[in-house]
Point group: C2
Amino acid sequence: MSIDPRSHTPVYVQLADLLRQRIEAGELSPGSLLPSEARLTQEYGIGREAVRMAVALLRSEGLVRTQRGHGSYVREIAERTKIELAAGNSAIARMPTGAERKHLGLDEGVPVLEIRDAKGRTEVLPGDEVELTRPTSD
Amino acid sequence: MSIDPRSHTPVYVQLADLLRQRIEAGELSPGSLLPSEARLTQEYGIGREAVRMAVALLRSEGLVRTQRGHGSYVREIAERTKIELAAGNSAIARMPTGAERKHLGLDEGVPVLEIRDAKGRTEVLPGDEVELTRPTSD
DNA sequence: CCCCATTTGTGCGTATGTATC
DNA sequence: AGATACATACGCACAAATGGG
């Protein structure tokens, strides 16, 4: 598989698609380092700008985490803790504010679950670590 | 408030923080146009790359929507439809795949809710338009 | 401790395409 | 038609963080 500069699909999107495939195929396993920007520019014969935008796109999707002076890692899939949505409560999914992301230690591209109880009190949970359940009444 | 190029925090993160503050403070209201890239580079004395990455970061957070050839707008807050989480079902929040985003017509930086029933069938809902509820058993 | 190689962050110049007014 | 503004893409250069010797 290769990249076509003359395609209507932007080069950086094509690269992101390729990398996403390699991640989902397990060829780039969770915790492993992506090839460096320099390597990707060479291997695919494209510019650094396109490479950086491709990685930024994967970051925004929560697939990779970038560490300056080191590289970009494939994010590890967190275990999801089952949380029961209590009767009378509701939940919404949204992206965290900057403060929330810092406070919860969230990577880029990770949503939060905001739980609201009947009294209007809210609780914000890391979206990649939680599975919301409602048990059968049996 | 200004930007410090010598800070440990990347310039583009600092700018994103400043713009986020202005958005959350209502100074940049929903539907309004952000200053252009050129204006931001001048006003903050930073490079184009930093400006573009800051705006991309806000996009990934679902705060702004960029319209090509026009500018970047502060996203309007969508009405949320209440959806009941049925008994025996569960839900997780995550970022959509590219295909899902296209199919659902989602802006960048908008998570999805994936509902799973007892038989393992899943349904994907736009995270910015849904509020998950569990009524009181009354 | 310093030096060095690697990697990402930042700034800037340039160019082309496309959408809007 | 023209001006403006963003999107994409390439190039180069230097700064800053990281880790190894």
